[in-house]
């Protein structure tokens, strides 16, 4: 084992600005780009909606997933269907993803918008995201059951999967009745 080198410094550090080699969270797609890719040719209207405490409880009961905030970022497509933007936590950082649902509430596509790739960007792989296509509110959406886990990215996989399950329940219980 190599000996340990240790250094302590007060962070009044030299002002040299660094072309840092450490990673950034990357915006792979803006919201507008994701909308154009996921609903080509459609016009999307934002839907302003705040969940009531009763709606939050019913979504939690149906999905088994905690609803952490009452506001939704959701748009309706004039060609039919819904577009969501949602944020979840991965192992080290946060993830912004977009979900497109058909008018009937089946997953059309999933896109990752913002993500930090320091530890591998596996959840961005098309193969992983394509597992969700066609899923509806009645699907189990459980890791290692109907959604494959990615070793080393379990927390990211689980929290994106849980997020999609929560949004599917939100569609079924709230949006489909608008």
């Amino acid at each position: 084992v190599a000996t340990t080198l240790s250094r302590i410094a007060l962070t009044a550090l030299p002002a040299a600005v660094i072309g840092s080699t450490s990673g950034y969270a990357v915006t792979y797609l803006t919201v507008e780009e994701a909308q154009a890719a996921m609903f080509p040719g459609a016009r999307l209207e934002p839907v302003s909606i705040t969940l009531t405490p009763a709606q939050r409880r019913s979504i939690e009961k149906a999905s088994g997933i905690h609803v952490r905030q009452p506001t939704l970022q959701v748009w309706r497509a004039d060609t039919g269907g819904w577009f969501f933007v949602d944020q979840v936590i991965g192992k080290h950082e946060f993830i912004t993803y977009a979900l497109a649902l058909s008018n009937e509430g089946a997953v059309r596509s999933v896109e990752i918008l913002d993500y930090r790739e320091t530890y591998g960007g596996e959840i961005r792989s098309e193969k992983w995201r394509d597992q969700f296509v066609g899923k509806t509110e009645t699907a189990p959406l459980k890791l290692d059951r109907d959604i494959k886990n990615i070793s080393g990215a379990t927390l990211s996989c689980r929290n994106v999967t849980d997020g999609i399950k929560r949004l599917l329940a939100t569609h079924a219980l709230v949006l489909s009745k608008l």
Binding site: T11, I18, T21, Y24, D162
Partner: protein, 267 residues
């Protein structure tokens, strides 16, 4: 008073020679960059620019500031405003917490004045994480970074974890080891501002009282954000957030030690 990132930062690597020196320089450079972008005491920093911004202003931020602000905003929403980087008087007085609209490509829109915005602890945790990244990029396989108690160990280094009793500082609890993980502690007892950034929304008191809350998580930024949520909401209130982040917590208060999840890990 020292600047907020002017705490002691320690970098240890399991290597030596010029290679180790170069890696440590890169680690401190990452911390220095976080300081430059997120300290409210640096007038050109992003945080200072946000503080000065008018309502409705759209600002282009450094990608790191944007990331920390995005996470702060998420934790604020998820904790129902208990974690509040804006220290908003309005929120404390019972108004709505308005915060920011996070736009893509490192931009944000300021929804209301944020003259007291302080990313303090969460930025400190983020700085530790970026220093760890920098060390790894330089080929260091194992080491630890400590910024005033926000601590992360990576690789095979097993860092003993000890936490001081906030009421009886001579009492130290040994809580196993830290390996490939981060820890952060939040306490009210030693904060000269009597609560400081732990001020809880709507004038209610911190759940921990004059005790402390410590959190273990994969990243130091998450550990720091979560320990504030635990301090404000208590172990029960924060439990689902802790579970979502695969984190564990320990609270020392009123002569009790309360653990949530697997906090105490033997070597």
């Amino acid at each position: 008073l020292r600047p907020w990132l002017g705490t002691f930062v320690e970098i240890r690597v399991a290597a030596n020679g010029a290679h180790a020196e170069r890696a440590i320089e890169a680690g401190f450079a990452a911390i220095s960059l976080v300081h430059e972008k997120m300290s409210p005491l640096v007038s050109a920093s992003d945080v200072s620019r946000l503080r000065r911004s008018a309502t409705g202003g759209v600002l282009q931020l450094h990608p790191w500031t944007w990331e920390v602000l995005s996470v702060a905003q998420l934790f604020a929403a998820w904790s129902n405003g208990e974690f509040d980087p804006t220290l908003s008087r309005r929120a404390r007085d019972g108004g709505n917490w308005y915060g920011f609209e996070i736009l893509s490509s490192n931009r944000v829109c300021v929804r209301g004045p944020v003259p007291d915005l302080d990313l303090g602890g969460i930025a400190k945790g983020f700085a530790v994480d970026r220093a760890v990244d920098a060390l790894r990029v330089e080929g260091i396989e194992s080491g630890a970074v400590n910024a005033g108690g926000d601590l992360r160990a990576f690789g095979s280094v097993a860092q003993p974890l000890a936490i001081r009793d906030p009421q009886t500082p001579s009492q130290i609890y040994h809580l196993g080891i830290l390996q490939d993980e981060a820890v952060a502690t939040s306490t009210n007892a030693t904060d000269p501002r009597g609560g400081g950034r732990l001020l809880r929304a709507r004038g209610r008191r911190l759940w921990i009282g004059r005790g402390s809350a410590s959190v273990r998580a994969a990243s130091c930024m998450m550990a720091d954000a979560l320990c504030k949520v635990v301090a404000a909401m208590g172990p029960k209130g924060a439990q689902s957030l802790l579970e979502m982040c695969d984190a564990s917590a320990m609270v020392l208060t009123r002569g009790e030690m309360i653990s949530i999840g697997n906090f105490h890990r033997a070597a």
